[in-house]
């Protein structure tokens, strides 16, 4: 008989959000909050819990940028790359972060503390350039300001 190891988090989130199809995205969103990304096993476990196919879960998860299916760090930095931010020095901010964290765009640090990604317009064009670290927006960034912000996160 196949051994099924209970995924406690999936159970808990299904209890909270329900087991119907419309519960799927809230469950996946909360799983990303907990684990920073959705592993293959997690997606299979969610499928089993909701009694839908794993392909449906995978198909849904991979549609949404914020439902990461690759390993991400504890702090996911998303720098806005859309026009207003691009015009107001987004590239300087990006290279400052790359220098400080010694990583490139798209990477996750080996200690899994930071991931560095770009995002499409995050809605702070009047205070460009802007970025999100997990859910928190940071605006009107300068190389000095972003250095200060990262220093705080490195300490955490």
């Amino acid at each position: 008989m196949e051994m099924i190891i209970e995924n406690e988090l999936v159970k808990e989130l299904a209890n909270k959000h329900g087991r119907t199809r419309e519960s799927l995205i809230p469950i996946l969103q909360d799983m990303v909050v907990h684990n920073r990304y959705l592993s293959r096993q997690d997606m299979v476990d969610v499928a089993r819990e909701l009694d839908i196919s794993a392909a449906d879960v995978y198909g849904t998860a991979t549609f949404y940028t914020f439902l990461d299916t690759e390993v991400r760090g504890k702090y996911v930095i998303r720098i806005c790359k859309t026009i207003s931010c691009a015009m107001k020095g987004k590239n300087d901010i990006l290279s400052t972060i790359e220098d400080i964290l010694k990583m490139r765009l798209g990477e996750t640090t080996p200690d899994r503390k930071f991931s560095l990604l770009e995002a499409n317009c995050i809605g702070w064009c009047h205070k460009a350039p802007a970025m999100l670290i997990n859910d928190t927006p940071y605006t009107e960034l300068t190389p000095e300001k972003v250095t200060e912000i990262l220093r705080e996160y490195i300490k955490k």
Binding site: I25, T60, I83, M87, A119, N120, G123, W124, C125, K127
Partner: protein
């Protein structure tokens, strides 16, 4: 503001006692609410500009027992950030607008679909929502609102994609018809409105349709919240009377060196300096969901266009071929022209492709890529080529 043609308005952010509004609408017949909104000529503030009263009327006429109100707070159009400000400053008015819509069409459940980028707003919104539900109980108005979060997909601002997303699926737009008023969320009749539109209905209920119509023009009644960004000393959020020309707008918000204004975001139109005077911002000219981006002479319009195409290529849901492949080919195409691998005539081919996308794409995303593409290429051809 000194410019007499750019008139500041303060209706959207005006504090309103929702208790009074609720009291008033609970004593009104649903049909009369629809009628009042119809008479105001209010058009949707998300960008598409469908008459709100008609939307409500159609939904109200459906004979289903379950109907929904959806507040579209997935503002993702580059250059738009007004809905966040509205939800931050006057959330109770947004909820109140949903309750009015619910009363008008006979819906008992509302959803707010908030973009994932605004997740940080949830705790505060929930506090306001609790208070709002208590108010609903006081008036025995059986209306409940749920907040759903997006997860970083621009396409989910498209109404049918948004429904799919709330239903727990990939945010792929549906074929239309049927329209949401007949078959929307969970296949039920649904009135889906933009955040700002809903707040306007609160003000129409408070002051009446005739007062709403005193502002604006025949085709664009009332005021509108604009999100101003780019090369401007006054970036920010402004509620202005509709009907001004781009010229008047630039007088007020430009930095003295404005060469183009992108009206309506990446899916909107680029207006060059020589057309500022003749172009009205509104449904009779260039419509906008609020996004106004100013570019001065230091900016390369090739970079602007490239940025937009990169955006669309990533955000196209990929479901229909004209949009999926079209976006990629437009992006590759302008890059090839810039490199010199293709001659300037190739741009005409690309404009044709954008026109085909307008006719053949399934939803508003693919249909509107040609707006910015066509208007930038037409007006700044030399910047794209050289």
């Amino acid at each position: 503001m000194n410019n007499k043609h750019v008139k500041r308005v303060d209706l959207i952010f005006e504090k309103v006692e929702c208790r009074d509004t609720m009291k008033k609408i609970m004593n009104m017949e649903p049909d009369d609410i629809c009628q009042e909104v119809l008479e105001s000529d209010l058009k949707g503030r998300g960008g598409a500009g469908f008459p709100t009263g008609l939307k409500w009327k159609y939904t109200s006429l459906e004979k289903e027992s379950v109907k929904y109100i959806v507040c579209n707070a997935d503002e993702g159009e580059p250059g738009t950030f007004k809905d966040r400000e509205i939800l931050d400053q006057v959330p109770e008015k947004v909820f109140c607008g949903m309750a009015i819509a619910g009363r008008a069409v006979g819906a008992k459940i509302g959803y707010v679909y908030l973009r994932g980028e605004y997740k940080f707003m949830i705790p505060k919104l929930n506090e306001h929502l609790d208070r709002f539900h208590k108010l609903m109980d006081e008036y025995n108005h059986n209306f409940r609102i749920y907040i759903r979060l997006g997860s970083g997909a621009y396409i989910c601002g498209e109404e049918s994609a948004l429904f799919e997303s709330i239903e727990g699926k990939r945010g792929e737009p549906r074929n239309k018809p049927p329209y949401p008023t007949a078959s929307g969320l969970f296949g039920k009749p649904t009135a889906i409105n933009n955040v700002e539109t809903l707040v306007h209905t609160v003000m129409i209920m408070k002051y009446g349709a005739s007062q709403f119509k005193e502002l604006g023009t025949k085709d664009s009644r009332g005021s509108k919240v604009f999100s101003v960004s780019g090369d401007t000393p006054k970036a920010g959020i402004y509620e202005l009377e509709l009907g001004m020309s781009v010229d008047e707008f630039v007088d007020e918000f430009g930095d003295g060196d404005t060469k183009a204004v992108q009206v309506g975001g990446a899916s909107g139109f680029c207006v060059p300096r020589k057309k500022f005077d003749e172009t009205i911002i509104g449904f009779e000219g260039v419509p906008t969901g609020g996004s106004m981006k100013l570019f001065n002479s230091t900016r390369s319009m090739y970079n602007v266009l490239h940025n937009y195409l990169d955006f669309f290529t990533e955000e196209s849901c990929g479901q229909c071929t004209p949009c999926r492949v079209g976006c990629q080919q437009l992006l590759k195409g302008v890059e090839a022209v810039k490199r010199g691998d293709k001659n300037s005539k190739y741009l005409d081919e690309l404009v044709k492709l954008a026109k085909t996308m307008k006719r053949a794409s399934k939803c508003g995303l693919g249909q509107s890529v040609g707006n910015s593409f066509g208007s930038i290429v037409e007006n700044f051809k030399e910047e794209i080529i050289y």
